[in-house]
Symmetry: C2
Subunit: 393 residues, 2 copies
Amino acid sequence: MENFQYYTPTKVVFGRGVENQTGALVKEQGCRKVLVHYGSRSAEKSGLLDRICRSLDEAGIEYVRLGGVVPNPRLSLVYEGIELCRREGVDFILAVGGGSVIDSAKAIGYGAADEGDVWDFYEKKREAESCLPVGVVLTIAAAGSEMSNSSVITNEKGWLKRGYNNDCSRAKFAVMDPELTMTLPKYQTASGCVDIMMHTMERYFNQSENMELTDGISEYLIRTVMKNARILMDEPGHYDARAEVMWAGSLSHNGLTGCGTDGGDWASHQLEHELGGMFDVAHGAGLAAVWGSWARYVAGERPERFARFAVNVMEVPAGDDDLETAFRGIRAMEEFCRSIGMPVCIRDMGIDLTEEQMAELAEKCSHFGKRTIGCVRKLTKEDMYQIYKNARG
Amino acid sequence: MENFQYYTPTKVVFGRGVENQTGALVKEQGCRKVLVHYGSRSAEKSGLLDRICRSLDEAGIEYVRLGGVVPNPRLSLVYEGIELCRREGVDFILAVGGGSVIDSAKAIGYGAADEGDVWDFYEKKREAESCLPVGVVLTIAAAGSEMSNSSVITNEKGWLKRGYNNDCSRAKFAVMDPELTMTLPKYQTASGCVDIMMHTMERYFNQSENMELTDGISEYLIRTVMKNARILMDEPGHYDARAEVMWAGSLSHNGLTGCGTDGGDWASHQLEHELGGMFDVAHGAGLAAVWGSWARYVAGERPERFARFAVNVMEVPAGDDDLETAFRGIRAMEEFCRSIGMPVCIRDMGIDLTEEQMAELAEKCSHFGKRTIGCVRKLTKEDMYQIYKNARG
C-alpha cells in the first residue's frame, strides 16, 4: 500500500431543489461579487440561471454573467473571463454547468489571481499559488470537476488540450440537484457515465500494490454506474438513478478511489485529450472509443489486475488463465458501452482517421516524443500510434 | 433517497512516517503557538511526542503540552486546557492520540473561542460559533473523530456523557501512520474495530429509503474491517491490515456512509454512552455488549433491512423470511464479536448490573424521560430499560 493524501474540502449540498441555497452558500464564503459562468443557452432557457440569480439577489450578492462555454472549453473565453473579473472586481466564480464550465471557471480563477499568462500552468511552466474561490451548480454528471482539483482547457492555437491539477482550485461548494440532469440527451448521459467509470478505472489500473477498501469501493462504484446508466437509457427521468450517477461522478474523481495506490494509469485520458482537441468529440465517448484498444495493448503487463476487474466489475466467469479472463472483461466492457450507445472504436464516432492524423495525435500526445504516458505500461510515441491505430476501427 | 450534505474538509496525510510532516502542516495553517494535547504516557514513552515536538521545532512553531486525557475524556481537563490556551495565547490545538484526545481537543477549541461555559454546547443549550483550529496525529483507529464533526465529553458531576456535533470543529488535517497503532493491545484493537463498524451500522440501520452507492460502500467497509480485525488478532504488526482498519475508521465516521439517508439510528451509541459514563468501559466493547440486544428489540420494524445486512455483510444464507434472516445476521455478528474477544452482553465486561443501575441508565439515557432515541424504532425510557435488561447477560 502506498502513502497518500486525501483532501476534499468541497461542501456538497445534494438533492431536490438545493440550487435555491446558492446565494446563501456564496454569502457563507464572505464574497460580494460573483461571476456567473455558464455554457449553452439551456441554462438560460430552462430558467435555472434566473433561479440562481434570484437566489444571489436574495442573499444581497452582486453578479456579472459570462456564458458561452463550449465542450472542450477554450482558452480565449478564459482570457475574457479573467479580464471581466478584473474589470468588475469579482471575488467569487460560480460555475453553472458541467465539467467544461467548471474547468473554465477554475482557469479564470487561476488567471484572475495571477499576474502572468494562465496558460503557463497548463503548460506546466509554473505552479499556481492561488485561485479565486469557485462554487458549482452542477447540471451534468460526468467530469467530477465539482470535487476534483483538475481543469482541462483547449488552446485554439494548435488545438492543444491540456490539464492542470492544483488543490487551490477545489470548489468551495457544489450544489448538486439530480433533477437538473434529467433533460440531458441520452448520448450525453451515456457519455457522462463512461467518463465517471473511467475516472475510477484510470486509478484502478495501476502499477502498485492496492488498498482493499479502495478496490471494493471502486468496483462497487463502477457497477453502480453501469446499472443506473442502463436504467437511464429507458427512464431518463428516474430520480434515484440520476442521483446515484451524480454522486458516483463526484466520488469517482475526488480522490477516494485512488487512496493507497500510485495514482493510476491515466493513459486513456491522455489519448482521448488529443482526440478531443482535434475533433471535439464528447469526452466520455472518446474514452470509450480508445479504452478497449489501450486495455488490450497493456493487459499483459498486469493480467491479474485485469482479471480481477473482469470478475468483480464485469462479472464474467474466470477463464483458464488471468489473461483470458482479462480479455473477457475487456469484451464485456465494450458490450456494455455498445448497449448504452457508446462507441468502442474511433470510427464509431464518425471519424475515419488518416495515417497522418494518427501520427499527429501520437506526436501531440507524447509532447513530440518528449514524454511517455501511463504506468501499467509506459507508452512511448510509437505505442500511442499503435493504440490509436488499433482503436481506429 | 434523502437530500444530504457532505463536508469533509480535513486534509488526510496517510502512511509510513507521515507524522514527521506535522510541523509543516501546522505552519501551512498559518498558526504560531500550539497546544500539544495527549493522553497516556505511551505517547511520551514511545518517543512519538518527542518526534512531533521536533517536527514543530523544525517548522519554527512554539508549543505547550497538556497530557492526561483518559478514555471517556473529562470536562475538568477541558476547562484546564481552555485556561492554558488563554494564558499562553495558543492558536492551534494538536491532538496526539485517539478519539478521547481528539474529542477533548475539540472541546478545548470550542471553549477557547467562546466566552461562556463550554458544557452549554454539550447540553444543547447553545450552538458554538467557532472553534480554534484542531489538527490530529492519530494513534488509535476507532472513533473516527479525526474526520468527524463530533466530540463526546464526560462531566464528572453526575458522570454525564454527552456528545456535540459541529462542522467548525472538523480537524484541519489528520496525520495517519498505521505503524503508530501497531503496539495497541489486542483488546483495544478489537474494541476499535467494533467502534468503526458501528459508525457505519448506526447509519445503515435507518428509517429512510437508501442510496445504493452508500449501501455498497457501507457493506464493503464493514466486511473489510471484520476481515482485517481477524488478521490483527494473530498479527498485530500487519501493516496493511492496520492501514485498512485505520482508513475505514475515518471513512466510517466522516459522513460518507450516511449520504442519501436520514442519518441513521444511533440508539446503540446513546445506550453505550450511559454505560461508558457509569462504568468507564471501552467504547467499542460497550457497543458490542448492547448491539445484539438493541438489534433483536427493533429488527421487527425493518426486517428487510436487517436481512440485507445479514446476507450482504454477515454473508449468512437467507432464511425462510426476512425476520429469520435478520436474526441469523445478528447471531453471526455476535459470533464475530466473540471471535475477536469482544463482549456480547454487559456481564461479559465483568459488570453485573443491578435493577437500580438499569433504571438509572434508562433515566439518564432518556434525559429523565424527556427524549426518545433511535429511528428504526423510537425508544422510550421503558424500551431503553428493557434493552439494558436483555443486554445484561
